[in-house]
């Protein structure tokens, strides 16, 4: 597995917020990244911070920029890209970013890390849990209609984000308020039991990714998992973001965030 990496311009740059839209329980932050590359690779991420009043939230945080996968990118005729980030408000950083308005400034560094690799065999199966659907949106765009999408959310309100995918993704919710009552990994198990010729791409909470890894390992299905960890820099400078793999710790920001399931003993 060797995923794609688009190089980032050196340093951070100012982008402009063009809109912040509510999508059920989440928000879509849209920005014009005039000085960035037009073609970030799906699965790559950006370090993002508000240009103004970054640091005045709860506990006088945020201080560091925050990592976000881009959900979609459109090349701009004049250069650069229009970027969408799908965000969940979980703390002072995401709260501040979601509160931004049109025309406000956004610091961006990126695209960072290594994205998804082409399917190794069989059909591509995209498996998203909650906010983890974000990087799968652009990956579906890239793979085209034969990519099958399975998504799981807490509730119908969160599941509104499923509408961002093309076609009709298969849906499960924890509380049964939309789609199947259950877990997205139940849907995945059914898919693989029907036809195990697939390459699985997954992003979501650690418990879900671990379940996906185990399901795929048991059926010899290759899987690529987009992980998360706490990051300070996003470009390999701090060694803060390591995750354990079979080869020892790797820096998720430069060797990930997409890792082969086979490289992991467990998703912690």
């Amino acid at each position: 597995m060797s995923g794609a990496r688009t190089l980032a311009p050196f340093g951070r740059r100012l982008a402009e917020v063009t809109a912040v839209e509510r999508i059920g329980a989440y928000a879509l932050l849209c920005a014009l990244d005039a000085d960035g590359p037009a073609d970030p690779a799906p699965g790559q991420f950006y370090m993002v911070a508000a240009a103004e009043r970054w640091g005045a939230g709860a506990d006088e945080r945020p201080f560091l920029p925050r990592a976000f996968s881009f959900a979609r990118a459109w090349p701009r005729p004049g250069g650069g890209a229009a970027l969408d980030f799908l965000m969940e408000d979980v703390g002072p950083g995401t709260e501040r970013l979601i509160a931004l308005g049109e025309g406000e400034g956004l610091w961006l560094t990126g695209p960072l890390g290594i994205g998804f690799a082409e399917p190794e065999h069989g059909r591509p199966l995209l498996v998203g849990g909650g906010i983890g659907v974000a990087p799968l949106l652009c990956w579906q765009d890239r793979l085209g209609r034969d990519a099958e999408v399975l998504v799981g959310f807490r509730s119908a309100q969160h599941a509104e984000a499923a509408g961002l995918f093309a076609g009709e993704p298969r849906l499960a919710t924890d509380d049964g308020s939309a789609g199947r009552h259950g877990l997205v990994t139940d849907l995945l198990a059914e898919e693989l039991d029907t036809d195990a010729r697939a390459t699985v791409y997954a992003c979501g909470p650690p418990a879900m990714l671990e379940a996906v890894r185990v399901l795929c390992a048991g059926r010899s299905v290759p899987c690529q998992l987009a992980l998360e960890s706490g990051m300070a820099c996003g470009y390999g400078a701090c060694f803060g973001c390591v995750v354990p793999t079979r080869e020892g710790y790797v820096r998720l920001c430069v060797d990930g965030p997409v890792l082969a399931g086979a490289a992991l003993e467990v998703v912690a």
């Binding site: 990496r5 190089l7 980032a8 311009p9 050196f10 340093g11 951070r12 911070a49 640091g55 506990d59 006088e60 945080r61 945020p62 201080f63 560091l64 920029p65 610091w107 560094t109 960072l112 960890s229 706490g230 990051m231 300070a232 820099c233 470009y235 390999g236 400078a237 701090c238 060694f239 803060g240 973001c241 390591v242 995750v243 354990p244 020892g248 710790y249 820096r251 430069v254």
Partner: protein, 302 residues
């Protein structure tokens, strides 16, 4: 040009050890990194004799205007550095300073013997923020221990030796004076201050290493005082650092007696922070002082 203990630097802004990885940055930013390299000298992450995998995650906790890290000095070890990293660092457009840490004077001497003869290496930095296994003392917290560390490496190399002081010492200026007497060419400070955070839910220590080191603007005032105290005590050049995020802060450290400054945590927020801070400093010095070259003209703090 800035003269710094015999090295001729194109300006006065270095990086703090362990806060910028030129090799990883090249993977992310490509060769543009070499053209726009943000520092006037590059200090490596601290290396040890044997490889270390570092502390278990989580390794980071954000504080108001700062960061606590418990990274635990992951590195490839001396052999891994010489074979894996050093060849790639040949592409650096600025002088290379290698940071080393040993669990006692003998190990430090072995590291310097391995690294210093290499042409790519222009200076050494001794990270003395670790225990001497023989005495159990943190070397950098004690003047006599620090002197022994410097005496062990001094006969091994003619290249400049910088001693990185820890702020967790009772009397950093006393430690600096001991380093100077033992033959150090420069001192750098501050390293991180000890700190910790509790897990919001479990109430156990959050960091995998238990406690960690605090850096960033949160420690700037503490660092400035220590730089001022050390510069008032020693005659060798001082590298000032701790929470510098702007040219104005860099100017403060120079005025407090530093010869050059280093940027650490701010590079996490902006990979090119070093260049920005150097540019801002140049403007300040030109506007306020009427000269453009940054040289060591510290204004007498008294």
């Amino acid at each position: 040009m800035t003269d710094f203990c015999g090295l001729s630097l194109s300006g006065p802004v270095l990086n703090g050890s362990g806060t910028f990885d030129a090799i990883a940055a090249q993977r992310t930013f490509g060769d543009a990194l070499w053209d726009a390299f943000p520092f006037d000298a590059f200090v490596t992450k601290t290396i040890t004799v044997l490889p270390r995998q570092g502390n278990p995650p989580p390794r980071l906790w954000e504080t108001p205007a700062g960061l606590i890290n418990s990274i635990g000095l992951p590195n490839k070890g001396l052999e891994g550095f010489l074979e894996g990293d050093l060849p790639q660092l040949r592409r650096l457009p600025v002088p290379l300073v290698v940071s080393v840490m040993g669990y006692g004077p003998d190990e430090l001497a072995a590291l310097v013997r391995g690294v210093a003869p290499r042409d790519e290496v222009e200076a050494l930095e001794l990270n003395v923020s670790c225990p001497n296994v023989a005495s159990g003392l943190i070397m950098g917290s004690d003047p006599a221990e620090t002197a022994r560390a410097v005496e062990a490496v001094r006969p091994v190399t003619d290249k400049p030796v910088i001693v990185k002081l820890t702020p967790n010492a009772t009397d950093p200026a006393g430690v600096a004076a001991a380093a100077e007497s033992a033959g150090a060419d420069a001192v750098s400070l501050v390293n991180t201050l000890k700190g910790m955070a509790l897990h919001p839910r479990t109430r156990e220590p959050w960091l995998g290493g238990g406690a960690g080191g605090v850096s960033g603007p949160a420690i700037r005032a503490v660092a400035l005082e220590q730089v001022h105290a050390v510069a008032g005590r020693v005659g060798i050049p001082v590298v000032g650092m701790g929470g510098i995020t702007s040219g104005a802060h860099a100017r403060d450290f120079l005025d407090a007696g530093a010869t050059v400054v280093a940027v650490g945590t701010e590079s996490f927020r902006d990979p090119a922070a070093g260049s920005r801070i150097a540019d801002e400093l140049r403007v300040i010095l030109r506007q306020e002082r009427g000269f453009s070259g940054v040289t060591a003209v510290p204004i007498d703090p008294r």
